[in-house]
């Protein structure tokens, strides 16, 4: 018995002394391999009498188990140490910069147009479009602006030398209102549309660019009146600026294509030199800002578009998209909208993921 114990002590001591997995393996083969010392002892069990086996067997099995366990433990410890040492050697400077994908952006005008589409979709308006190169009938005449009307002079129009087959002078649309004409002539009432897009005026200074963006709204139905227009504009502006304290001031005005015509001012408050939309313009630090032109569609326009003005009536409104963007997001230079300066685009632009939604808020 004592030789078994001393063999076990010897083997365990040898295992504890190993430094490499190879040494562990060599010991395993020496002890537990085919001709290993422990294997040899196990083989003696078969030749023993039952009594001898009863006396020695447990000790020999214990020897095998303790050596097997010691070898496994030693192997695991050495593997752990090897892994630790490899990982230690693989340490890198995690403060080094990672490659970042380039940052793209959506232009504020596009973003605001998406916001408008979202808000007006909820009010039942779809988005209509029309060509930017128009004829003077749709841009002026159909809209109750005859050739000699002083209002034609109010629009600094870009003309082409060309005429279409009907002999109409071709021009760059001065407003999005021709889309009203196309909508009314191209479908069956009732209509609820907004028409955003590029418009052109021969005008260029610090606050005017020869190209800018307008959005037009049109409702043609039965029994629509100025009160509906007022509500629609209030509702739109509240949704757009995401403020409940929007106050509108309606002023009589003149547009050839509406009657009555109404200029819409929105109240603002002067805060740190910035005009913040909201509150009454008559309040202290307040003022009124012209934001929309609107009115009830002129019976002549409805008639020109082939509808009976005694049956159908409605309202139209128009405003500058660039201006809405400036009022909401704080840009102060219109010219920068069309300069394509990457620094400006990244500063005022929007992430691709800023998709306006009603549940998430249309503003970003």
């Amino acid at each position: 018995m004592t030789e078994i114990i001393s063999l076990q002590d010897g083997l365990l001591a040898d295992i504890a002394r190993t430094d490499t997995l190879d040494e562990v393996e060599a010991l395993r083969v020496g002890a537990l391999g085919k001709s290993g010392v422990v294997t040899a002892l196990l083989k003696t069990l078969g030749a023993m009498t039952p009594d001898e086996r009863k006396a020695k067997g447990p000790a020999i099995h214990a020897l095998r188990e303790s050596v097997t366990a010691a070898l496994a433990a030693r192997k695991a410890a050495l593997e752990q140490a090897a892994l630790d040492s490899r990982l230690a050697s693989e340490r890198i400077d995690m403060t080094l910069p990672a490659d970042m994908p380039p940052q793209g952006s959506v232009h504020p005008v596009s973003q605001v147009m998406d916001e408008l589409a979202e808000i007006f979709a909820d009010l039942g308006f779809s988005v209509a479009t029309g060509p930017e190169i128009e004829d003077d009938w749709r841009n002026f005449t159909a809209l109750n602006i005859p050739e000699t009307h002083p209002a034609r002079a109010m629009h600094d129009t870009f003309y082409f030398p060309d005429r279409d087959v009907e002999g109409r002078a071709m021009l760059l649309r001065t407003h999005t209102s021709p889309v009203q004409v196309r909508t009314m002539m191209g479908g069956e009432p009732p209509f609820r549309i907004i028409a955003p897009g590029r418009v052109y005026r021969s005008d260029s200074d610090a606050t005017h660019t020869p190209m800018f963006h307008q959005v037009e709204g049109l409702v043609i139905d039965k029994g629509i009146h100025l009160g509906h227009l007022k509500w629609t504009l209030e509702t739109f502006l509240k949704a757009f600026f995401e403020r409940e304290d929007i106050v509108l001031r309606l002023r009589p005005s003149y547009f050839p294509f509406t009657e009555p015509s109404v200029e819409v001012d929105v109240g603002y408050t002067l805060e740190k030199g910035q005009r913040i939309i909201g509150g009454s313009g008559d309040a202290e630090n307040g003022g009124w800002m012209e934001v929309l032109g609107s009115g009830m569609v002129h019976p002549n326009v409805i008639r020109n578009c082939g509808l009976d003005p005694d049956e159908w009536q409605g309202f139209a409104f128009g405003t500058g998209v660039d201006r809405l963007a400036m009022l909401k997001y704080g840009m102060n230079d219109l010219r920068a909208f069309f300069d394509g300066d990457l620094r400006w685009l990244r500063h005022y632009g929007f992430s691709a993921l800023d998709v306006p939604t009603l549940s998430g808020g249309v503003g970003a």
């Binding site: 000699t148 002083p150 052109y200 990457l342």
Partner: protein
């Protein structure tokens, strides 16, 4: 349109405050653009008497004055040569701001002598040019009184914006009428306004005038006044004209301007000594020239109306008088013209000549055709009052269009159109105050309304509703919700709008920055793209002349501006239109996404080393990714040549669906074009044609059932030797077609030429993915497929590499 408060009060009996007047003006649609009281600038300047004047001990040109401005003697140092004891002038006390230079007066020592203010010159107070000496007022001017008040300058100047439909408010009286209707006072009868002027006692026949152009000038009324003295107009008239920014010229000219501003009635006066025979309104002769009062000469056409005598045209009728017959200080006999010019004709002439004037503004909007006699009478009385003379009878040539307009009006229309229920009695009152005649309609319900002669703009019920609500107040219009369809809002965007939105956000998500560039470019920029179909007749500059046939020009210009600002990496896109022309002459506009990348594709970095530029496959990747985002069947698209002259001929392509439909063109920009835009390095560009992207037809939301193959796919690699000219795509397509049932995919994974590859050939390695159906491939199956692949490749000229 500018006027002063006191001028308004000539016509409007009111005790309303200035603020009330201003608020009412804006409320009724006469938007107040500004208001300025000249007296505010003169706060702190009072009338003062010089008590004593003594020489300054230290300076020859200065005097030391003792001045009384109402509160006892004060010492003032003064340099004016006319300063002397007994003079009554204008004194600025410490704290007052000198209008001319913004200097704030304070107590100060001037050459050692204390001065407690300043005696002022006309120029210092911005009341004139005189700076020779200090202002001298009459000896009895009330000392201590605010000078502005004494001088009648305490009269706010109001500037209102008059919309083109309201000619009647291009005269102070019209504005007064509107305010009276609003309830701000009472409109004084016209006779009362001019009660102080002498009556006209005509002597002799009227002047010889006629109209030979009843279309352009249907009525030409005139009268002469002989023996006038055309000096300066009186102080009150000059002050008014100056207050509104008009320069006083002479009594006769000032009278015409005053009547025009006062009553909206343009007039013209001729020095009869310069006229040869009678005056006639006629069409101009072709090429006839008129030297107008602005000093410029205008060549006229026979569509334009002139006022001429025997020697030729004097006047561009209704727009501007002629230089050679204008009134001067030597004028003794004057002819006053009061005519009616047809608005459309004035508008056409004014537009054609690019000539604006106060008279044109009024005539083209339509002056009151019933006010010729009264206008001429008032002008004559003013001439008599200010210049004396003997008036003739009036000559009335032609007749103005006086036909009164009557309209049917149903008062219920106010509620149905404006949404505000104004009681009938109130509506009637408003309309009558505005000069409309309201009668019950004999045929039944509603009213017959006669429109006053000065309201040419009112032609229908809607106009009458506007009159009622603008006077009643738009603040009375309630906010009424627009009827709403039940349920959640419906989808409204069109397929093209959805494509546009997806492309925009996909591009931004891929690191591209959206720009918006001008729709117009220069002819030179358009040329490499085949030029533009639309060239502006009146461009703002040569750089903005052609409606773009491409989005690239604008993007390249923007790229250059960014490069000039030092941007290292430029990725810009734009969603806009390209403009072409249809056969019928209408516009053909194509929604397009343009894309330009320049500079560094990847900045230098510690991991990758040097910066890397863009190449053809960088742009191809963008285009394919964007097309995929837009829903295009990218796998089915063919890569073909024909990107166009803007691109590198060997490093560009189009993506087509079928041989004709071009969805995109892309590639490396032609180096010549890059140089034309001053861009260094490789520039890549693309245009995607939104309208060419086919819209997937969708029937409901249900996807096809999910059925993954039961067996795993296997891959096999093939290396081919192929002629250089063989497109990789052709080889891959041939391989895919070799066994459509088994081959799920094939893709090039290696390209090699040079060592070991024969001259003129290349080695292309293709990984083929084979998808077994219901049983695995056996060796024989794989061999058969491989044979088919090799055979298909052979047809393309590719041989399996040994």
């Amino acid at each position: 349109m500018k006027f002063t408060l006191s001028w308004l009060r000539d016509h409007l009996e009111t005790d309303a405050t200035l603020d009330a007047v201003l608020a009412a003006l804006t409320d009724i649609g006469l938007e107040v653009e500004g208001v300025e009281n000249p007296a505010e600038k003169l706060a702190g300047f009072r009338i003062a008497r010089v008590l004593t004047a003594a020489p300054h001990p230290q300076a020859d040109k200065l005097q030391v004055l003792s001045v009384d401005a109402g509160d006892g003697p004060m010492q003032v140092v003064c340099g004016a040569p006319n300063a002397r004891a007994g003079l009554v002038g204008v004194f600025g006390s410490p704290g007052a701001t000198v209008p001319a230079n913004g200097m704030v007066l304070r107590v100060a020592a001037i050459r050692g002598v204390e001065s407690n203010g300043m005696m002022c010159s006309t120029r210092e107070l911005e009341l004139g040019e005189d700076h020779e000496g200090i202002i001298e007022l009459p000896g009895d001017a009330p000392v201590g009184t605010a000078f502005a008040e004494h001088a009648g300058l305490d009269d706010p100047v109001i500037d209102v914006s008059i919309t083109p439909n309201r000619q009647d408010c291009m005269g102070v009286r019209g504005i007064a009428r509107d305010l009276a209707a609003k309830g701000l006072g009472t409109l004084k009868p016209l006779a009362d306004v001019f009660a102080a002027l002498p009556a006209v006692a005509p002597q002799g026949a009227g002047p010889d005038v006629r109209t030979d152009d009843p279309e352009g000038c249907p009525a030409f009324y005139a009268r002469s006044v002989r023996g006038v003295a055309n000096g300066a107009s009186p102080e009150w008239m000059q002050r008014r004209l100056k207050a509104i920014g008009q320069k006083p010229i002479s009594a006769l000219v000032d009278i015409t301007n005053h009547v025009m501003i006062d009553l909206g009635r343009p007039l013209h006066v001729y020095d009869m000594a310069t006229l040869a025979g009678g005056l006639v309104a006629r069409k101009a002769k072709a090429g006839e020239e008129v030297l107008a009062l602005n000093g410029k000469s205008y060549a006229l056409t026979p569509a334009m109306t002139v006022i001429a005598d025997a020697t030729g045209a004097h006047d561009i009728g209704g727009i501007m008088g002629g230089e050679r017959s204008g009134a001067s200080e030597t004028t003794r006999d004057v002819l006053i013209e009061c005519a009616y010019f047809t608005p459309e004709s004035i508008a056409r002439t004014g537009q054609a000549l690019s000539l604006t004037s106060d008279a044109r503004q009024r005539f083209e909007r339509g002056v009151d055709p019933a006010f010729l006699d009264e206008g001429l009478e008032i002008a004559t009385r003013l001439v008599l009052a200010l210049c004396g003379g003997t008036p003739s009878a009036v000559t009335r040539a032609g007749t103005p269009p006086l036909e009164p307009r009557t309209l049917a009006y149903d008062p219920a229309r106010c509620a149905s159109l404006a949404g505000v229920d104004v009681p009938s009695a109130r509506q009637r009152d408003i309309l009558e105050r505005l000069g409309f005649t309201v009668a019950d309609d004999p045929t039944g319900a509603g009213w017959r309304i006669t429109v006053p002669s000065w309201r040419r703009d009112v032609t229908g019920q809607a106009d009458l509703v506007e009159e009622v609500v603008r006077i009643e107040g738009l603040d009375k219009v309630p906010s009424v919700p627009l009827p709403r369809a039940p349920g959640v809002a419906k989808r409204t965007a069109t397929p093209l709008q959805l494509v546009e939105r997806r492309l925009r956000r996909a591009a931004a998500a891929r690191g591209l920055n959206e720009a918006i560039n001008w729709s117009f470019i220069s002819e030179a920029e358009a040329a490499p793209f085949g030029g533009g179909d639309w060239v502006l007749a009146n461009p703002i500059s040569e750089d903005m002349k052609v409606l773009r046939p491409t989005l690239l020009a604008g993007l390249l210009s923007a790229a250059r501006r960014n490069a000039d600002r030092g941007a290292a990496s430029i990725r810009l896109f734009e969603l806009g239109r390209r403009y072409f022309r249809n056969a019928d002459g209408s516009s053909d506009e194509y929604a397009t996404l343009g894309l330009v990348m320049a500079g560094e594709a990847r900045a230098r970095g510690w991991q990758h080393g040097k910066a890397r530029g863009f190449d053809a496959f960088a742009i191809k990747a963008e285009v394919e990714a964007l097309l995929a985002a837009a829903g295009a069947p990218v796998a089915r698209l063919q890569v073909m040549d024909g990107a166009g002259d803007a691109y590198h001929p060997g490093q560009s392509a189009t993506l087509r669906l079928g041989p004709r439909t071009v969805l995109a063109r892309f590639g490396v920009l032609h180096p010549r074009l890059a140089r034309a835009f001053d861009l260094d390095g490789t520039v890549v560009a693309a245009e995607i044609h939104l309208d060419a992207i086919p819209q997937a037809k969708k029937s409901g939301f249900m996807r096809p059932p999910y059925a993954p193959p039961a067996l795993q796919a296997v891959t096999r690699d093939f290396a081919f030797l192929a002629p250089d000219a063989l497109a990789a795509d052709a080889l891959v397509r041939a391989i895919r077609g070799a066994d459509k049932a088994a081959i799920a995919d094939a893709r090039v994974f290696d390209l090699f030429a040079g060592h070991g590859v024969p001259e003129g050939q290349k080695s292309l390695a293709v990984e083929v993915t084979l998808q077994p159906g219901d049983k695995s491939f056996g060796e024989a199956d794989l061999k058969a497929i491989a044979d088919r692949i090799v055979a298909a490749a052979a047809k393309q000229g590719a041989t399996l590499r040994g």
